[in-house]
């Protein structure tokens, strides 16, 4: 087998075209910036029928040129993708092979976008996202990784090799290297993005890493929000001493160096004392509190229905909670055979630490929003009809604070992803052979100057996911402000 080149046979004629397109775009962008500085803006004129018309001048032609060059560039990129899907394995090189591997993701993305755009007027804020280019790009990037993670984690699709298996002879080999013993030009015949320092497939490790990131980051963020909301609402609503104490505590946590905190939490001596487990006991109690209060305040006028809803929900949640906090090999272990699952110790610690450092920030946001919203008349109306304080907080205030909270949620998943990367980079929490992006970057770091690809690939993956989340948050913010 021959090694794969980046673009294969397709690249022989498409690569020069790409170069031309990129050069054109660069020149056009520069010209447009210069024209914006020097030339006057095109004048707008009103037509007799009430429509607006632009009187074209040199500057509008320059801008049109930029748009044309951009469209050309996009077209070339799309050609690469189409080539990868249509040409036989190997003819479109590494890029083509990867495009082909991601085929389920492309289908899922296309379906999502088609359906969402078709029904966007009926989908509220989510639908409005498809009015904003920035939001769509962000959503696309995020969903790319979410679908990748789902297909890898649930159906074992995309990846070409076992992320932990080493193939001798492929240590630190460049992208496109053939796997010894594979004869057919079929998926798995090459390490698409090369091998790392333990001769594992970088491409497979990257897509498997997405499954870990997509599992932990949103869930940890959800827990941070539950904690932050459950504490922030009463602090903002009641104010006074409660607020002073809670705000002081959150300042205390925020003031503590995060990395040092993580080191402390995962040090084996500290883990043995059970501090992280006890923290889990405390922090994971909040979702149960949150859901319980949410349901009770809403249905307190109808105790029968409240009971039928709350008892099963709370039972399930409590069981999950007990299973979660009761871990083998920690001081807290009491469930015995009833224990549903054990989270690997490292992941639990990562989870606890991420929730612990994120919730004070959420607390502050919720507290501020609550202080603003509680002065509204509808809150007074709820008070004067004798609603309980928790009803006012959870059903009158919280839904109206959702705009900023959703935006922050997206941003915070991004931060958490970076935080996970940081933790992995310091070798904290997750096991050293874990394919998550942070650990992979760390292990690729040592030979970075000689073999950059093992570190570069997960770094780019991390970048694109966080960029997507930030763009998504921007798009949501922009669209939620319009009405």
């Amino acid at each position: 087998m021959d090694p794969l080149t980046w673009t294969g046979a397709l690249g022989d004629w498409l690569d020069p075209v790409l170069a031309v397109a990129a050069a054109l775009f660069g020149v056009a962008a520069l010209a447009s910036v210069l024209a914006g500085l020097v030339l006057p803006a095109p004048a707008l004129a009103v037509n007799p029928d009430g429509t607006l018309a632009v009187r074209r001048n040199l500057r509008s032609w320059v801008d049109a040129g930029l748009r044309g060059a951009f469209a050309f560039l996009i077209l070339v990129v799309l050609l690469y993708l189409a080539g990868g899907l249509l040409l036989p394995y190997g003819d479109a090189g590494i890029v083509g092979a990867m495009v082909r591997r991601f085929l389920p993701v492309w289908i899922a993305l296309a379906l999502t976008f088609a359906l969402s755009i078709r029904f966007k007027r009926r989908l509220g804020l989510y639908g409005k996202l498809f009015d904003s280019t920035v939001g769509m790009v962000g959503f696309g990037l995020v969903m790319f990784w979410v679908f990748t993670a789902l297909f890898v984690g649930l159906f074992d699709l995309i990846a070409t090799h076992d992320p932990l298996a080493a193939v001798s002879g492929l240590k630190n080999k460049p992208p496109g290297v053939p796997v010894p013993g594979a004869d057919l030009p079929a998926p798995g015949a090459h390490y698409l993005l090369g091998g790392d320092n333990l001769a594992r497939d970088v491409f497979s490790r990257m897509v498997h890493g997405s499954w870990i990131v997509v599992q932990i980051a949103p869930l940890a963020t959800v827990f941070s929000f539950m904690v932050g909301i459950t504490l922030g609402l009463p602090a903002g609503y009641h104010g006074g001493r409660l607020d002073a104490v809670l705000s002081f505590l959150s300042n205390l946590i925020l003031a503590f160096p995060v990395i040092l905190l993580f080191y402390l939490l995962v040090t084996p001596e500290i883990a043995e004392t059970g501090i992280p487990s006890y923290m889990a006991v405390g922090l994971f109690l909040f979702p149960i509190l949150f859901v319980g209060v949410l349901l009770w305040s809403r249905y307190r006028t109808d105790p029968r229905r409240a009971a039928t809803l709350m008892v099963p929900t709370l039972l399930v949640l409590t069981w999950l909670y007990l299973s979660l906090v009761s871990q083998a090999e920690t001081p807290i272990r009491f469930m015995g055979p009833l224990d549903l699952f054990d989270v690997p110790g490292g992941i639990l610690v990562v989870f606890v630490s991420v929730v612990f450092v994120n919730s004070p920030t959420v607390f502050r946001i919720v507290r501020g929003l609550t202080m603003d919203i509680k002065t509204r008349d509808y809150v007074a109306a709820a008070q004067t009809r004798g609603e309980s304080t928790w009803y006012v907080m959870l059903w009158e205030i919280l839904p109206n604070a959702r705009g900023p909270l959703i935006v922050d949620f997206c941003l915070r998943i991004g931060y958490t992803t970076i935080l996970l990367g940081t933790l992995g980079f310091f070798g904290l929490g997750l096991p050293p052979d874990s394919p998550d992006w942070g650990s992979t970057i760390n292990s690729g770091r040592q030979l970075l100057s000689v073999f950059p690809h093992p570190a570069l690939v997960p770094a780019i993956a991390l970048l694109s996911l966080v960029l997507g989340l930030n763009l998504l948050a921007d798009g949501l913010r922009e669209e939620s402000l319009k009405d």
């Binding site: 009103v46 008349d377 109306a381 004067t384 004798g386």
Partner: protein
């Protein structure tokens, strides 16, 4: 130093014949959105002569502020003048370059906005902000600018100008801030002053003082004014001519007296019939609201915009073509945009609406005795610092009967909201008693009240845009109130009751599924009323329920409230600062000032002499849109004192114009010393009419009515 007064130049212009300062000719302004062009102003013409004050009246969304922004050439990125011209002193503003416009704005044309704090830089001392104007526009030296600033601050009648110049905007009260904004506008001797609802954010007595000031300054400086307001009464007091706008068009313009007394457009007529003028009465002569809704800018009807809501609409004629302006002969430059202006019998009396049976008040429902509410404020986070007591309510005593409307009148800080809070149970009283159906509730916070008590005392809130939870459907919010009040025994039953409540407030049942943002202000207020009456409330506190609504909607909502009250025999506590509407709908009136009840009595007693001096000033301050009305002008000096530091003795003594008429106790001290020393006792003047004042009998007896209607 620049000369004050362009009066001389103005007269010079006059000598050359009538040369308007501002001439707007067939102006059309549109806003362009991604979806469509939205015409905001269409075919609008208007001229402002030197020294003349022109009013621009209309409801929200009619385009009056857009006209002002058009004159300033400040329409933003998507606003554009699509037709017509705006000439300022003969020059077309649209043809000016940015640099020329900058010279005109602020020096030749000045604008005053509704929210004074939004026009002042919070990080700069007042003096610097004022001095900037001549230094920028005329290159004046700092000393000259400062001298001019001092003079202008004195002109706007602010006390202690030196101190004011050294202070920051937040250190001044709302009225003082608005005076500074006016001063800033006058710094450059503008030829034209545009005032966009300059007093809407102010209290009535402060508003009266600011309006008086604007009028006087207009005379002194000879400035032309474009006065934008939704308040017809204010226009009558300030302007020479007015222009009524509806849905982007001027529908009628002319001299104030002509338009007020000989209106020739159905919208103007409908507007006047929907505001409570003296003589309107809730049982004998109810208000007439304008049917239907304001058309959205992109859904305007063909032909006459007002057509679908007009009583005189003629199919095939009024909706056939665009309606031009017609000149009304006989009057001075009086035009109307009505095809049928000479066919309609304008003076025909209003078709008699059925007079409603007056309901006699029943037994006492609510009794307050010596209610006091003090707050202690101050003190740092750890209990340090000095504590102060705010006396929000002092010795409040009154009764309210079943089916009665008791109006509570007062300006901001008078304690009416605190009183409502105590009554609702959001706060507990410091001392005194509240008896609801002979049950004492003043010490019961709302959590400890039983469902019956809670549902029988309910509230309608002021701000329609805030009264409904934006993320819950209208129906759900009413159903929730039913659930909490334990009305109905199943979800289906409660849903049925909710639909009936929507019927009661005259909203279509389909609204149950709507979100609040899909409703107009008046519709939201109706939902708020439905919610308050969900549990069969016996006492409803209405906190300025219509003050934020457009006049034509106000009448409809007020009438709805009255109808429901008449049917259910609810006691209505109507909190308001608008004395016209209070006079129209209330049976009894209670006037509050700084936590004290200063006067209480039946509506007739309060609105006729003898008055408490504060009531007298309040009555005189309310602008009334009726040319027949003559008012005694009483302008109160100074600001409402802070409840944190109330003056000693009578709460009103710092601003009381009649303090000097209180004789001295021993002949030695100056008159009025008594007011500064002692809180006056509550004196009963007539059956049920009480006044808290030291004025002797003969002064009270000698008072003349503030509002007099000239013989017709």
């Amino acid at each position: 130093m620049p000369q004050i007064g362009t009066l001389s130049s103005a007269t010079a212009l006059l000598d050359r014949g009538p040369q308007p300062i501002l001439e707007i000719d067939r102006l059309s302004i549109s806003f362009f959105t991604r979806l469509r062009e939205i015409p905001a102003v269409m075919d609008f013409s208007c001229a402002v002569m030197p020294g003349e004050a022109v009013g621009l009246v209309g409801e929200s969304g009619c385009g009056k502020s857009t006209v002002a922004l058009g004159v300033m050439q400040d329409l933003g990125v998507n606003g554009r003048i699509v037709g017509g011209s705006i000439r300022f002193k003969g020059q077309d503003l649209a043809r000016m370059s940015e640099a020329e416009l900058r010279k005109v704005r602020g020096s030749q044309i000045a604008m005053i906005y509704q929210e004074p704090m939004a026009s002042l830089n919070p990080a700069m001392r007042i003096g610097r902000q004022l001095m900037e104007v001549p230094m920028l526009h005329e290159g004046a030296s700092a000393e000259a600018a400062r001298a001019r600033a001092l003079e202008v601050v004195r002109d706007v009648r602010l006390p202690d100008p030196e101190r004011i110049l050294e202070s920051y905007p937040h250190q001044l009260s709302g009225g003082q801030q608005q005076r500074i904004v006016i001063a800033m506008a006058l710094m450059a001797n503008p030829a034209l002053l545009i005032l966009d609802e300059p007093t809407t954010a102010l209290d009535v007595t402060v508003e009266a003082a600011v309006v008086q000031l604007v009028k006087d300054l207009g005379k002194k400086y000879g400035t032309s004014m474009l006065f934008i307001s939704h308040n017809l009464g204010l226009i009558l007091e300030t302007c020479d001519r007015l222009c009524v706008m509806y849905s982007g068009e001027a529908v009628e313009r002319g001299r104030v007296a002509d338009v007020f007394d000989r209106m020739r457009h159905p919208y103007t007529q409908a507007l006047f019939r929907s505001i409570p003028l003296p003589g309107a009465d809730k049982t004998a002569r109810p208000l007439r609201s304008i049917p239907g809704n304001f058309p959205l800018p992109h859904e305007r009807p063909a032909g006459c915009n007002f057509g679908p809501r007009c009583d005189y609409f003629e199919r095939g004629r009024c909706d056939a073509q665009a309606i031009p302006m017609f000149d009304v002969p006989g009057d001075d430059r009086h035009d109307t945009r009505c095809l049928r202006w000479d066919e309609i019998a304008w003076d025909a009396p209003l078709a008699a609406t059925e007079a409603r049976a007056k309901r006699e008040p029943g037994g006492v429902v609510l009794r307050m005795e010596d209610l006091r509410k003090y707050y202690s404020v101050g003190g740092g986070a750890f209990g340090g610092g000095d504590k102060r007591v705010v006396k929000a309510n002092e010795t409040l005593s009154f009764e309210a009967r079943e089916g009665e409307t008791l109006a509570i009148v007062g300006e901001s800080g008078c304690g009416k909201s605190t009183f409502a809070k105590v009554l609702m149970g959001l706060e507990t009283a410091t001392s005194g008693q509240i008896m609801l159906f002979n049950q004492s509730i003043e010490q019961q916070p709302i959590e400890r009240r039983d469902v019956d008590t809670v549902s029988s005392v309910q509230m309608v809130f002021q701000n329609p845009f805030d009264t409904l939870n934006p993320s819950m459907t209208v129906g759900r919010q009413i159903v929730r109130a039913l659930e909490v009040f334990q009305v109905g025994d199943s979800d289906a039953d409660r849903r049925e009751r909710m639909l009936r409540l929507l019927d009661l407030v005259k909203l279509p049942r389909a609204f149950a599924e709507r979100m609040p943002r899909q409703l107009s202000g008046g519709q939201k207020q109706r939902v708020g009323i439905a919610r308050a009456f969900a549990g069969g409330a016996k006492v409803v506190v209405a906190d300025e329920p219509v003050s934020a609504l457009d006049v034509s909607v106000q009448a409809a909502v007020t009438d709805l409230l009255m109808d429901i009250q008449r049917e259910s025999g609810t006691t209505l506590l109507f909190i308001s600062h608008d004395l016209s509407i209070v006079r129209y709908l209330s049976d009894r009136v209670m006037v509050m000032y700084l936590g004290h009840v200063v006067e209480i009595g039946s509506t007739d007693q309060v609105f006729a002499p003898p008055y408490h001096p504060y009531t007298e000033a309040l009555l005189s301050a309310v602008p009334i849109a009726d040319t027949r009305v003559e008012k005694t002008h009483i302008v109160l000096e100074g600001e409402i004192p802070s409840a944190m530091r109330p003056p000693p003795g009578c709460p009103f003594q710092t601003r009381c114009p009649r303090k000097r008429q209180v004789p001295s106790r021993d002949g030695q001290e100056p008159p009025g010393t008594l007011c500064e020393a002692e809180v006056p006792p509550m004196r009963t003047l007539a059956q049920g009419h009480q006044v808290k004042c030291h004025l002797p009998e003969e002064v009270l007896a000698g008072m003349i009515p503030v509002i007099r209607i000239a013989a017709e």
